[in-house]
Protein backbone atom coordinates (compact mmCIF):
# COMPACT_ATOMS: atom_id res chain seq x y z
CA UNK A 1 0.00 0.00 0.00
CA UNK A 2 1.22 3.48 -0.83
CA UNK A 3 2.23 5.71 2.05
CA UNK A 4 1.18 9.07 0.62
CA UNK A 5 -1.77 10.68 2.36
CA UNK A 6 -3.56 14.01 2.55
CA UNK A 7 -4.40 15.42 5.95
CA UNK A 8 -6.69 18.43 6.34
CA UNK A 9 -7.13 20.22 9.67
CA UNK A 10 -10.31 22.31 9.65
CA UNK A 11 -11.54 24.83 12.25
CA UNK A 12 -15.15 25.92 11.67
CA UNK A 13 -17.07 28.62 13.53
CA UNK A 14 -20.46 30.32 13.42
CA UNK A 15 -21.96 26.81 13.42
CA UNK A 16 -25.43 25.79 14.63
CA UNK A 17 -24.97 24.95 18.36
CA UNK A 18 -27.78 22.38 18.38
CA UNK A 19 -26.15 20.38 15.63
CA UNK A 20 -22.79 20.60 17.42
CA UNK A 21 -24.37 19.03 20.50
CA UNK A 22 -26.22 16.20 18.70
CA UNK A 23 -24.06 13.04 18.84
CA UNK A 24 -26.25 10.90 16.58
CA UNK A 25 -26.55 13.60 13.93
CA UNK A 26 -22.79 14.29 13.95
CA UNK A 27 -22.09 10.57 13.60
CA UNK A 28 -24.44 10.45 10.58
CA UNK A 29 -22.84 13.56 9.00
CA UNK A 30 -19.30 12.22 9.42
CA UNK A 31 -20.20 8.81 8.01
CA UNK A 32 -21.90 10.49 5.03
CA UNK A 33 -18.82 12.69 4.57
CA UNK A 34 -16.65 9.56 4.45
CA UNK A 35 -18.92 8.14 1.75
CA UNK A 36 -18.82 11.39 -0.24
CA UNK A 37 -15.03 11.18 -0.11
CA UNK A 38 -15.18 7.61 -1.48
CA UNK A 39 -13.85 6.21 1.79
CA UNK A 40 -14.91 2.96 3.49
CA UNK A 41 -16.07 3.20 7.12
CA UNK A 42 -14.56 0.52 9.41
CA UNK A 43 -15.39 1.71 12.92
CA UNK A 44 -16.73 4.70 14.87
CA UNK A 45 -16.12 6.00 18.41
CA UNK A 46 -18.21 8.94 19.63
CA UNK A 47 -18.60 10.50 23.07
CA UNK A 48 -20.95 13.17 24.46
CA UNK A 49 -19.64 15.47 27.18
CA UNK A 50 -21.47 16.97 30.14
CA UNK A 51 -22.86 19.62 29.97
CA UNK A 52 -22.24 19.81 26.22
CA UNK A 53 -19.93 18.98 23.33
CA UNK A 54 -19.12 15.88 21.32
CA UNK A 55 -15.89 14.11 20.34
CA UNK A 56 -16.03 11.56 17.57
CA UNK A 57 -13.78 9.59 15.25
CA UNK A 58 -14.61 7.57 12.15
CA UNK A 59 -11.91 5.04 11.25
CA UNK A 60 -11.93 4.51 7.49
CA UNK A 61 -9.91 2.04 5.43
CA UNK A 62 -8.12 5.12 4.06
CA UNK A 63 -7.28 6.53 7.59
CA UNK A 64 -9.72 8.65 9.72
CA UNK A 65 -12.06 11.60 10.17
CA UNK A 66 -12.44 13.28 13.56
CA UNK A 67 -14.59 16.01 15.12
CA UNK A 68 -14.50 17.83 18.47
CA UNK A 69 -17.26 20.38 19.16
CA UNK A 70 -17.84 23.35 21.48
CA UNK A 71 -21.55 24.16 21.02
CA UNK A 72 -21.29 27.09 23.47
CA UNK A 73 -18.93 28.83 21.03
CA UNK A 74 -20.46 27.57 17.74
CA UNK A 75 -17.02 26.06 17.10
CA UNK A 76 -15.70 22.68 15.98
CA UNK A 77 -12.22 21.33 15.22
CA UNK A 78 -11.99 18.56 12.62
CA UNK A 79 -9.33 16.55 10.88
CA UNK A 80 -9.65 14.42 7.77
CA UNK A 81 -6.79 12.14 6.85
CA UNK A 82 -7.12 10.02 3.74
CA UNK A 83 -4.83 7.85 1.65
CA UNK A 84 -5.30 6.59 -1.87
CA UNK A 85 -8.14 7.91 -4.01
CA UNK A 86 -10.34 9.24 -1.20
CA UNK A 87 -10.83 13.03 -1.35
CA UNK A 88 -10.69 14.78 2.05
CA UNK A 89 -11.58 18.20 0.59
CA UNK A 90 -15.01 16.98 -0.48
CA UNK A 91 -15.57 15.56 3.01
CA UNK A 92 -14.53 18.89 4.61
CA UNK A 93 -16.85 20.97 2.48
CA UNK A 94 -19.75 18.59 3.06
CA UNK A 95 -19.36 18.71 6.86
CA UNK A 96 -18.87 22.51 7.00
CA UNK A 97 -22.11 22.98 5.08
CA UNK A 98 -24.02 20.54 7.31
CA UNK A 99 -22.83 22.39 10.44
CA UNK A 100 -23.94 25.74 8.90
CA UNK A 101 -20.41 27.11 9.43
CA UNK A 102 -19.91 30.76 8.49
CA UNK A 103 -16.13 30.77 8.86
CA UNK A 104 -13.79 27.98 7.81
CA UNK A 105 -10.04 27.72 8.07
CA UNK A 106 -8.03 24.76 6.87
CA UNK A 107 -4.41 23.64 6.71
CA UNK A 108 -3.53 20.78 4.36
CA UNK A 109 -0.50 18.59 5.00
CA UNK A 110 0.90 15.91 2.73
CA UNK A 111 1.94 12.87 4.78
CA UNK A 112 4.23 9.92 4.10
CA UNK A 113 6.42 11.50 1.41
CA UNK A 114 9.32 9.14 0.78
CA UNK A 115 12.85 10.59 0.54
CA UNK A 116 15.78 8.18 0.89
CA UNK A 117 13.70 5.68 2.87
CA UNK A 118 12.56 8.38 5.27
CA UNK A 119 8.95 9.41 5.33
CA UNK A 120 8.22 13.05 5.83
CA UNK A 121 5.36 15.57 5.80
CA UNK A 122 4.91 18.91 4.09
CA UNK A 123 2.42 21.77 4.46
CA UNK A 124 0.85 22.14 1.03
CA UNK A 125 -1.90 24.71 1.55
CA UNK A 126 -3.91 26.96 3.81
CA UNK A 127 -7.42 28.09 3.02
CA UNK A 128 -10.02 30.36 4.55
CA UNK A 129 -13.71 30.91 3.74
CA UNK A 130 -16.13 33.55 5.00
CA UNK A 131 -19.89 33.19 4.76
CA UNK A 132 -20.99 33.47 1.13
CA UNK A 133 -17.47 33.35 -0.26
CA UNK A 134 -15.74 30.56 -2.07
CA UNK A 135 -12.98 28.62 -0.34
CA UNK A 136 -9.90 30.77 -0.94
CA UNK A 137 -6.35 29.53 -1.08
CA UNK A 138 -4.15 31.56 1.26
CA UNK A 139 -0.63 32.58 0.23
Amino acid sequence: MRTEGRHILMDVSGCNPEILNNLELLKKILKEAAEYANATVLDVAFHHFTPQGVSGVVVISESHLSIHTWPEYGYAALDFYTCGDADPKTACEYVAEKLSATHIQTTEIERGIEKNERYTQEIVGKRVKEDGEKLLVLP
Copy 2:
Protein backbone atom coordinates in the same frame (compact mmCIF):
# COMPACT_ATOMS: atom_id res chain seq x y z
CA MET B 1 -14.53 24.55 28.24
CA ARG B 2 -11.65 26.37 26.60
CA THR B 3 -11.28 25.95 22.84
CA GLU B 4 -7.50 26.16 22.61
CA GLY B 5 -5.80 22.92 21.61
CA ARG B 6 -2.43 21.64 20.48
CA HIS B 7 -2.31 19.29 17.52
CA ILE B 8 0.88 17.46 16.57
CA LEU B 9 1.20 15.53 13.31
CA MET B 10 4.08 13.06 13.50
CA ASP B 11 5.61 10.91 10.73
CA VAL B 12 8.02 8.27 12.04
CA SER B 13 10.22 5.93 10.01
CA GLY B 14 12.89 3.30 10.55
CA CYS B 15 10.45 1.66 12.99
CA ASN B 16 10.29 -1.99 14.02
CA PRO B 17 7.93 -3.64 11.46
CA GLU B 18 6.73 -6.30 13.91
CA ILE B 19 5.56 -3.68 16.37
CA LEU B 20 3.86 -1.74 13.56
CA ASN B 21 1.83 -4.85 12.69
CA ASN B 22 0.82 -5.75 16.26
CA LEU B 23 -2.65 -4.33 16.95
CA GLU B 24 -2.81 -5.21 20.64
CA LEU B 25 0.65 -3.81 21.34
CA LEU B 26 -0.09 -0.57 19.46
CA LYS B 27 -3.34 -0.17 21.38
CA LYS B 28 -1.41 -0.60 24.64
CA ILE B 29 1.29 1.89 23.58
CA LEU B 30 -1.23 4.55 22.55
CA LYS B 31 -3.25 4.17 25.74
CA GLU B 32 -0.03 4.45 27.78
CA ALA B 33 0.94 7.53 25.75
CA ALA B 34 -2.41 9.11 26.61
CA GLU B 35 -1.73 8.45 30.30
CA TYR B 36 1.78 9.91 30.05
CA ALA B 37 0.22 13.03 28.53
CA ASN B 38 -2.18 13.26 31.50
CA ALA B 39 -5.15 12.53 29.23
CA THR B 40 -8.22 10.42 30.09
CA VAL B 41 -9.07 7.56 27.68
CA LEU B 42 -12.79 7.38 26.75
CA ASP B 43 -12.91 4.97 23.83
CA VAL B 44 -10.69 3.12 21.33
CA ALA B 45 -11.23 1.92 17.75
CA PHE B 46 -8.49 -0.21 16.14
CA HIS B 47 -8.43 -2.18 12.89
CA HIS B 48 -5.90 -4.62 11.40
CA PHE B 49 -5.49 -4.69 7.63
CA THR B 50 -4.76 -7.64 5.35
CA PRO B 51 -1.98 -8.47 4.63
CA GLN B 52 -0.52 -5.96 7.13
CA GLY B 53 -0.89 -2.58 8.80
CA VAL B 54 -2.98 -1.14 11.62
CA SER B 55 -5.21 1.92 11.98
CA GLY B 56 -6.23 3.00 15.43
CA VAL B 57 -7.72 5.90 17.31
CA VAL B 58 -7.90 6.62 21.02
CA VAL B 59 -10.62 9.12 21.95
CA ILE B 60 -9.55 11.01 25.06
CA SER B 61 -11.51 13.55 27.08
CA GLU B 62 -8.99 16.09 25.79
CA SER B 63 -9.49 15.10 22.07
CA HIS B 64 -7.71 12.14 20.33
CA LEU B 65 -4.58 10.22 19.41
CA SER B 66 -4.38 8.29 16.12
CA ILE B 67 -1.96 5.94 14.38
CA HIS B 68 -1.79 4.45 10.89
CA THR B 69 1.05 2.01 10.15
CA TRP B 70 2.82 0.60 7.08
CA PRO B 71 5.01 -2.23 8.49
CA GLU B 72 6.41 -2.97 5.00
CA TYR B 73 8.03 0.49 5.00
CA GLY B 74 8.81 0.77 8.74
CA TYR B 75 6.61 3.86 8.63
CA ALA B 76 3.74 5.22 10.72
CA ALA B 77 1.67 8.43 10.60
CA LEU B 78 0.31 9.70 13.91
CA ASP B 79 -1.62 12.66 15.19
CA PHE B 80 -2.06 13.80 18.77
CA TYR B 81 -4.63 16.46 19.49
CA THR B 82 -5.06 17.60 23.08
CA CYS B 83 -6.84 20.40 24.87
CA GLY B 84 -6.33 21.72 28.37
CA ASP B 85 -3.37 20.57 30.41
CA ALA B 86 -2.60 17.36 28.48
CA ASP B 87 0.83 17.41 26.83
CA PRO B 88 0.90 15.94 23.29
CA LYS B 89 4.71 16.29 22.97
CA THR B 90 5.29 13.82 25.77
CA ALA B 91 2.88 11.39 24.12
CA CYS B 92 4.68 11.76 20.77
CA GLU B 93 8.11 11.11 22.22
CA TYR B 94 6.87 8.12 24.18
CA VAL B 95 5.32 6.47 21.12
CA ALA B 96 8.29 7.21 18.82
CA GLU B 97 10.60 5.50 21.32
CA LYS B 98 8.30 2.47 21.70
CA LEU B 99 8.19 2.02 17.88
CA SER B 100 12.03 2.23 17.74
CA ALA B 101 11.76 5.09 15.22
CA THR B 102 15.07 6.38 13.82
CA HIS B 103 13.59 9.39 12.01
CA ILE B 104 10.82 11.64 13.31
CA GLN B 105 9.21 14.66 11.75
CA THR B 106 6.48 16.69 13.40
CA THR B 107 4.35 19.72 12.65
CA GLU B 108 2.56 21.41 15.56
CA ILE B 109 -0.61 23.41 15.00
CA GLU B 110 -2.45 25.51 17.54
CA ARG B 111 -6.20 25.02 17.17
CA GLY B 112 -9.23 27.03 18.28
CA ILE B 113 -7.57 30.44 18.63
CA GLU B 114 -10.32 33.00 19.17
CA LYS B 115 -10.23 36.24 17.18
CA ASN B 116 -13.42 38.30 16.97
CA GLU B 117 -15.63 35.27 17.63
CA ARG B 118 -13.92 33.30 14.88
CA TYR B 119 -11.80 30.31 15.76
CA THR B 120 -8.66 29.79 13.76
CA GLN B 121 -5.53 27.66 13.63
CA GLU B 122 -1.85 28.50 13.34
CA ILE B 123 1.28 26.50 12.57
CA VAL B 124 3.53 26.98 15.59
CA GLY B 125 6.43 24.64 14.97
CA LYS B 126 8.14 21.99 12.90
CA ARG B 127 10.64 19.54 14.31
CA VAL B 128 12.86 16.77 13.02
CA LYS B 129 14.91 14.13 14.81
CA GLU B 130 17.49 11.67 13.49
CA ASP B 131 18.58 8.58 15.37
CA GLY B 132 20.67 9.57 18.37
CA GLU B 133 19.93 13.26 18.07
CA LYS B 134 17.69 15.42 20.17
CA LEU B 135 14.39 16.64 18.78
CA LEU B 136 15.38 19.78 16.86
CA VAL B 137 13.14 22.74 16.19
CA LEU B 138 13.15 23.58 12.48
CA PRO B 139 13.22 27.19 11.30
